[in-house]
Amino acid sequence: MANKIPRVPVREQDPNKRKTNFEEVCFGYNTEEASLEATRCIQCKKPRCVDACPVSINIPKFINAVSEGNHADAARIIAEDSSLPAVCGRVCPQESQCEGSCILGVKGEPVSIGKLERFVADYSRDHNVDLGKPGPRNGYKVAIVGSGPAGLSCANDLAKMGYFVKIFEALHKPGGVLEYGIPEFRLPKERVVKHEIDNLRKLGVEIETDVVIGRTITIDQLLNQEGFHAVFLGSGAGLPKFMHIPGENLNGVVSANEFLTRNNLMKAFDTTYDTPIYIGKRVAVVGGGNVAIDAARTAIRLGSDVSLIYRRSEKELPARVEEVHHAKQEGLEFHMLTNPIEILGTDTGWVKSIRCLKMELGEPDKSGRRSPVEIPNSEFNIEVDVVIMSLGTSPNPLIASTTPGLEVNKWKCIVADDQGQTKREGVFAGGDAVTGAATVILAMGAGRKAAKAIDTYVTKKFKK
C-alpha cells in the first residue's frame, strides 16, 4: 500500500549551529506541514499502529482530527490515553513502536505519528486547550513515590478519578529522568516538562520535593501515619553501573548520570548557575544507549571532541536511530566493536587515555543479539581527558530495604504483577523501578495500569 505524498520532512536546527547550543534540535511541524502529513494516514480499519503503542492512543482518530484542522479535538483524543504527549512525541522510540508498525511502512515510509503527536501537544499547550477537569473528590488519598513519567501518569489518572494525590520526590525538582537525564536539546524543560507538571498541579495533585522515601519517611509511615490508602512506587532505576576496570576512579571519570544531572537538573551549561562541570578536550563515552548518546551530544555542545566506545556494532546500538543520526551530524566519532579494559592516568591522577580491545561479533546470545568476542592482542589507546561511563542503571535499593514485605528480584527490580500490584498489600509499582531501565511510554503505561488497579483496590477495601 503506497502513498503518493512523501513523508513530510521535519525542520531541524543546522548541525553546525546546534552543536554549540542547547536549543531544541527538532523544530516540529507547523500547521501546514502537520495537515499535509495527516492526510497520508489511510485510516486503517484495523490500525496496526495502535496495537504497537504501549498506551494504545487512538492514532487514526487523532490524525483524522488534525487533517480536518480540529487540533483541539485531536488533543482531547490523545489525552484519553496519554498525559505526556509533548514528551512522547519527542522521545518515544517511534520507529520500533507506532511508526514501526504503520502499514505505510511496509512499502514506503510510515506516517510521522510522533511528530504529529508532538504538533498536537504543542498546539494544545500554546492554545490552552481544556483537557478535562478532575472528578469530584472521593475522599481517598494516594501517595506516589517519584515524579518521573510513571508517577506523573499514575497521578494524572487518579486525580481525574477524584483521588487526592500527593507525589513525593527526592530531588529538588519534579520530572524524574525527563528533568535530570534527557537533555534540553531533545526535551525542553521550561516549555514542555514544566508545563506538563503544571497541568498536573491544576488537577489538584500536590508535589512535595526534597523527600526521600525510605529515609525522610517510610512507606509504612505513609500508610499508617499519614493516612494514605495506597502507595504507588515510580522510583525509577537511577543507580549507575560501572565497569570495575582499573582506573575507573581517576579524576575525570564520571557516570553519564552525573554528567547529565550536572548539566540538565543543575544547568551547568548556563554560567549563571553555580554548578561546576569538568569539560574535557577529548571525551570518551562508553556505552551505546540513549543515555550514552545524550551524554556524548551534551559533551559536544560543551565544546569537547567526543568518541563513543561501544562493544558491538552500529547495528546493535540500542539508542534511537534518529538520535544516532543526529549525533553523527554533530560530529560524534564512533568506535564500534571496541571494549575498554583500563583507564590510564597522569602522575597526579587525572585521566590520560583509555585502553581498549577490538571486538568481533560471535554467535547470537540469549537476547538474540550477536555477542562481542575479544580479538586477541588488539589493544590500543585512545587519548582522552574525560571518560563518561554509560553502562546502564538499576533500581535504587533504598525503598525495598526499608519496606517490609516488598519483594525484589535479582536485578533489584521491585516485583509487581501486570497491574502493578507488589507483594505488599496497598503498595503498587511501575516503570523503571519494576522493569529496569526502559522507556518513557512504558513507564507511563505502567503508571496508568496501576492507577486502575489502585482504584479497584481502594474501592474494594475502603468503600462501603
Binding site: G238, F242, N251, E258, T272, D274, Y278
Partner: protein
C-alpha cells in the same frame, strides 16, 4: 522553603544554624547528613546533621565557609529561608544498632577535627542518652577555632583538646595526642570514630591500624544528588566501590583509600577556585584553609 530559626557564629568562619525541617528532625539519627540548596541556581551542598529536635521540628547544621556555596549558606540570616533541605541521608552510625549492654561494654573514643567537631556532638549526645560515656579528642588550629567544647563536655566522659599552636590543651596533632593518651596515660580504646578533614582521618587511620583499634571514618566526598543516582561520591573501600551517600558516610577507616578520596575531592577545585575568587573579590572575605585544624 526551610526557615532558619536561629543562627550564631561559633568560631571564625563557622556558623551554627537551626533549621525548621520537621520531617528531617523526626527521622534523623546520628551519623546522617542533609543536602542544602540556597537559591534557584545554587549547588547541592552536603552537611552533617549536628543536632536534631523532633519535638521542635528543627535540625542543626554547622557550616564552615570554604568556598562559594558554603559562603552563601552562611550569609543567610535568622528568619530567612534555605530553598532546599533534604534528608536525613546516608546510613546512621552503626552504633545505633547495638544494645545498651554492647555499647556499655565498649571503650569508645571520638576524634574530631575542625568543623568535624559539630557532627561528632550528636553521636556523643546520643550515646550519653543511652547511658554510654565516651572520650572525645577535639583538634583545632587554635583557641579561636575551637567549637562545641562546652556542649561536648556536658555529654562526654572526658574531652581532650589538641591545638596546632598550643594555645589551649595539648600542643600538636590529634594523632600525637592519641598516642600520648594510649602510651603514656593508660587509656584503652576498642573503637575510634573520626570525623574531620580527610587528611586528618587518613593519619588517624594509619595510627589506629598500628595500635590495632577498629576505626570508623565519616567521609566528606563530593556529592550531587545524595541518593545514589550519580556516583560522584564513590570511594574505594577495600576492593569494593561504595557510594558515600547511600552506603556511608561512615566506613571502616582501615579499608578507605584516603589518597584516592582526597584526589577525587579536588576534581572541581580549579573550576570552583575561579568562581570562588570572583565572589571573594566581591565581598573581601578571606578564605580559611580547608584542612580546618
Amino acid at each position: 522553603m526551610f526557615k532558619i530559626v536561629s543562627k550564631r557564629l561559633l568560631a571564625p568562619h563557622i556558623y551554627l544554624m537551626d533549621i525548621e525541617a520537621p520531617r528531617v528532625a523526626k527521622a534523623a539519627l546520628p551519623g546522617q547528613f542533609v543536602i542544602v540548596r540556597v537559591h534557584e541556581k545554587g549547588e547541592r551542598i552536603p552537611l552533617t546533621i549536628a543536632d536534631y529536635n523532633a519535638e521542635a521540628g528543627t535540625v542543626t547544621i554547622v557550616t564552615q565557609t570554604v568556598g562559594a556555596s558554603t559562603r552563601l549558606i552562611c550569609a543567610k540570616e535568622e528568619g530567612e529561608f534555605l530553598l532546599d533541605f533534604v534528608g536525613p541521608l546516608g546510613m546512621p552510625s552503626e552504633l545505633v544498632n547495638e544494645t545498651d549492654e554492647q555499647l556499655r561494654a565498649r571503650k569508645i573514643l571520638f576524634i574530631a577535627g575542625g568543623v568535624g567537631t559539630a557532627p561528632v556532638y550528636p553521636q556523643v549526645k546520643y550515646l550519653h542518652g543511652r547511658g554510654v560515656k565516651v572520650d572525645v579528642i577535639i583538634g583545632a588550629k587554635g583557641k579561636d577555632a575551637l567549637i562545641f567544647q562546652d556542649e561536648m563536655k556536658s555529654v562526654a566522659n572526658e574531652v581532650f583538646v589538641a591545638t596546632d599552636d598550643g594555645s589551649v590543651g595539648f600542643k600538636g596533632l590529634v594523632t600525637d595526642l592519641l598516642k600520648d593518651l594510649v602510651q603514656n596515660r593508660g587509656k584503652q580504646y576498642d573503637l575510634v570514630v573520626t570525623i574531620g578533614p580527610m587528611i586528618m582521618m587518613k593519619f588517624v587511620a594509619a595510627l589506629t591500624r598500628e595500635l590495632n583499634i577498629h576505626t570508623i571514618a565519616s567521609l566528606n566526598t563530593l556529592m550531587v544528588d545524595g541518593t545514589g543516582m550519580c556516583g560522584a561520591c564513590r570511594v574505594s573501600i577495600g576492593n569494593e566501590i561504595k557510594f558515600t551517600c547511600v552506603d556511608g558516610p561512615e566506613f571502616d577507616a582501615h579499608l578507605v583509600n584516603f589518597d584516592e578520596a582526597m584526589r577525587r575531592q579536588n576534581m572541581y577545585r580549579t573550576i570552583e577556585g575561579v568562581k570562588d575568587k570572583e565572589l571573594e573579590e566581591k565581598d573581601h572575605k578571606c578564605k580559611i584553609g580547608r584542612d580546618g585544624k
